[in-house]
Amino acid sequence: MSKNSPLIKIKIQNEDFDVSDEIKILHQNNTGAIVNFIGVVRGYDEKNNQIINSMTLEHYPGMTESEIEKIVFESFQRWELTGVTVIHRIGNLKPSDQIVFVGVSSKHRQNAFDGCNFIMDWLKTKAPFWKVEENNNKKNWVNFNENDNKALKKWQ
């Protein structure tokens, strides 16, 4: 990869990730700003008023990667970015575990803020992942949140 080609890293994995390692990777020669988002497992379901013991994430192998690629490529079309990393975990996770990392680097901060926000909004509505919450042997498939669709409107 040449010095100026953008860095793109997309990973679906069971393992945890190290945020500081990921930020180092995004820190290229021409980077002036790095924005990142980390999604974390909540320990409490406010809607149903109950504790969450664990959560399992499943996905559609192959389609997940290609949908995330489409979103990332679109972000490069819209903003001048130097790097994007998307890591999404699957499998069984416990409260306070990290679920997702989206890191975006650019020369100037606004592009990185917008790019990161855009990728997260689209990932929430397009990337084929499903969460099931587990509480004392009861399973509850998480419902789609209509607010996530509303969040997309700002990018139209």
Binding site: G39, L57, E58, H59, Y60, G62, M63, S66, E67, H88, I99, V100, M120, L123, K124, T125, K126, A127, P128, F129, W130, K131, V132, W141, V142, N143, F144, N145
Partner: protein, 83 residues
């Protein structure tokens, strides 16, 4: 044809994947759903609220009128909840 199911749909069907021989007269996703409903009642429970179901044909978001053939991989799943 391979049909894949995810999330609560997988649990209703009782399997994550199945292989079927697509009859010649079935040309699109809608016709496939009607065909599955005829075979087994468990499918009609899933497809009765079609607006809640997302469709992918060969790992690309598709619609009920997307054309399909016996070589395709179809997936049915609820709206996504990752992130």
């Amino acid at each position: 044809m391979i049909i894949k199911y995810f999330s609560w749909i997988k649990e209703h069907v009782g399997k994550s994947e199945e292989q079927i021989e697509l009859p010649d007269h079935i040309n699109n996703v809608n016709e496939l759903i009607n065909y599955l409903n005829e075979i087994d009642k468990k499918y009609s429970l899933i497809f009765e609220k079609k607006q809640l179901i997302k469709i992918a044909v060969n790992k690309t978001y598709s619609s009920f009128d997307t054309n399909i053939s016996n070589n395709d991989e179809i997936a049915f799943f609820p709206p996504v909840t990752g992130g």
